[in-house]
């Protein structure tokens, strides 16, 4: 009984859809969809990680793209040093092995999040939004200044990373890698939100004074949350670098952070699975609208306004019924 709620049916249907999408694309002869949907899966990971901050920890971060960018640059820089056979800082060998650079991308993004979070979390409200934005812009300009890695122009990878048993140059392999990583990440976040840690996070965002009266300093929990979200964004960045075989400062621009935020709101704030729908809706609309007009944002805007006004839990809330956030 419990397993056949409307919500679980929507989630299962979504899972099946993504699992068989490459087959559908092939049978309709539209192979390009595989690469479009890979992109959707990647942005989903980033959006889900942002939902952890926005929807559960109550932390309005407007700099999330910075961590995506750091993850992407990690992959790019390690690839560059491997390709040129010239160790990073003179002693760290480069690598194009996904099993090495993916965890590294997450780790380095997490480190960035630790530093940025440690400082930003001393503020709250409007100040927090502004300071995360400022840090993200600093990271952006820092990457512009990386002359060695192409500066403004960015850095090309000459191939995708290698993974044992996979050939990422084949779009189907790459798609399923993205899907598996998103799946694992969703499970992790789902468990996290319902764990002891998750309860403290949700409590701290609901009533900070109360949680302190219970003997908890919310700072450390929020920081840990920020770091986890940063690592998730780093993973998305590593995948993005592989998909486009190219990294550039543009990945970190604040408009990208804004787009991630839109995906979360569109899909359903605080719903974990919603941001996947949000990313899909956003990127499909973008794809569709840009066929007709350059000013596609002009049409995206009203759609977003309507969703935000009429569907508090976004597209996911519409499909899954207006359930409470935590069940």
């Amino acid at each position: 009984m419990h397993y056949f709620t409307r919500k679980s049916i929507v989630i299962a249907a979504g899972g099946v859809f993504f699992a068989i999408l490459p087959l559908l694309a092939a049978s309709f002869g539209k192979e390009y969809l595989v690469s479009l949907f890979s992109r959707i899966l990647i942005y989903s990971i980033a959006a889900v990680s942002l939902d952890l901050l926005l929807g559960f920890a109550g932390l309005i971060s407007l700099g999330h793209a910075a961590f995506v960018g750091v993850g992407a640059y990690t992959v790019g820089i390690f690839f560059f040093h491997g390709f040129e056979a010239q160790p990073l800082f003179g002693f760290i060998p480069g690598s194009e092995n996904g099993l090495i650079v993916f965890p590294l991308a997450m780790l380095i993004s997490a480190l960035f999040a630790l530093i940025i979070g440690a400082l930003s979390l001393r503020t709250s409200g409007m100040h927090f939004i502004m300071i995360t934005l400022a840090f993200a812009q600093m990271t952006y300009y820092f990457s512009v200044g990386l002359e060695k890695y192409g500066g403004d122009d960015g850095l090309s990878l000459y191939s995708r990373n290698s993974f044992p048993g996979l050939d990422l140059s084949r779009d189907y392999h790459f798609y399923y890698l993205c899907l598996i990583l998103l799946f694992l990440f969703l499970i992790f976040i789902y468990r996290l939100v319902n764990s002891r840690f998750g309860l403290v996070i949700r409590g701290a965002s609901s009533n900070s004074r109360r949680i302190q009266a219970l003997g908890v300093n919310p700072y450390h929990y929020k920081l840990a949350c920020f770091v986890i979200a940063g690592a998730g964004a780093g993973l998305a960045g590593a995948l993005l670098a592989n998909q486009t075989e190219y990294v550039s400062p543009g990945l970190m621009h604040w408009t990208v952070s804004g787009e991630l935020m839109v995906m979360v709101l569109l899909g359903g704030l605080g719903t974990i699975f919603g941001p996947v729908l949000g990313a899909a809706t956003f990127l499909l609309l973008e794809e569709f609208l840009t066929m007709y007009t350059e000013h596609w944002m002009l049409y995206m805007g009203p759609i977003l306004v309507l969703v935000v006004i009429f569907a508090k839990r976004g597209v996911f809330g519409l499909l899954a019924g207006l359930e409470r956030r935590h069940d």
Partner: protein, 248 residues
């Protein structure tokens, strides 16, 4: 020598021109219910806030279990065994009743950097949650979001949360307010039972309840602690009659 769990010495606090606490002294004996009474605006909540750490005093000391806690953060005081309820009900509105109580249970049992296991299946929670719900009579509302509770139920929940940590000292700011007659009786019984295991500082306007429950009473007027004594002494005290009980 009596065993004082809490000593307040020369507490001073001003908000601009308002002197909300003027050189306040009082001691609370372990195991007592110690009431703070006084007219509206007398400074009762301000005293509680300085005990819990939500407000820092301008001067004076708060000594809890022989340790000066006057300047430490609220969460550190809570960790030392000081729990409170707020005058304006303060629960986790977005969480369910059981999550509210589960949260107060886990906050008092070790660290919470546990990322995987469902919190409601956690051993500490499973051990204590049923009792915690029962104690404040909210078992039937366990799955309901706190924001949909009635005012009285929120109060019960808040008291329940304050109790789950097995605090040594409980600070209650008008727990009876907004409770019907039945609720007041229930809460009185609960406090009476609790007295055996902990100490309570009770701010309350319901004089019947106060005189029945309290072992000691401190009267505050215009930020000053005028007198501390047993209910009988307080009842006889001339200042009480004029200042508070509305007799001339």
């Amino acid at each position: 020598m009596t065993d004082h769990i809490l000593q307040v010495k020369a507490l001073c606090k001003s908000f601009g021109a308002v002197e909300a606490s003027r050189n306040i002294y009082f001691d609370v004996c372990r195991g007592h219910i110690h009431a703070l009474i006084g007219p509206n605006g007398a400074g009762k909540t301000t005293v509680l806030n300085q005990l819990s750490g939500d407000i820092l005093p301008d001067g004076g000391r708060v000594i809890f279990d022989s340790e000066d806690i006057s300047r430490i953060k609220p969460y550190l005081r809570a960790a030392k065994g000081l729990a409170r309820s707020f005058q304006i009900t303060s629960v986790f509105e977005n969480l369910t009743v059981e999550e509210n109580l589960a949260l107060s249970i886990i906050c008092h049992n070790g660290h919470n950097f546990r990322f995987w296991k469902n919190c409601l299946k956690d051993k500490d929670v499973q051990d204590h949650l049923p009792d915690a719900l029962m104690r404040v009579d909210l078992t039937e509302k366990a799955k309901q979001q706190a924001k949909y509770l009635s005012h009285g139920e929120k109060r019960q929940l808040e008291v329940g949360m304050a109790l789950t940590g097995k605090p040594k000292l409980l600070l209650l700011d008008e727990p009876m307010a907004g409770q019907g007659a039945g609720g007041t009786v229930e809460l009185s019984k609960l406090f009476q039972r609790l007295k055996k295991t902990l100490t309570i500082v009770l701010v309350e306007h319901d004089m019947d309840a106060v005189f029945k429950l309290a072992d000691r009473i401190t009267l505050l007027v215009y930020g000053e602690a005028i007198v501390t004594g047993t209910p009988d002494e307080i009842r006889q005290h001339p200042e009480v009659r004029t200042a508070y009980l509305g007799e001339d």
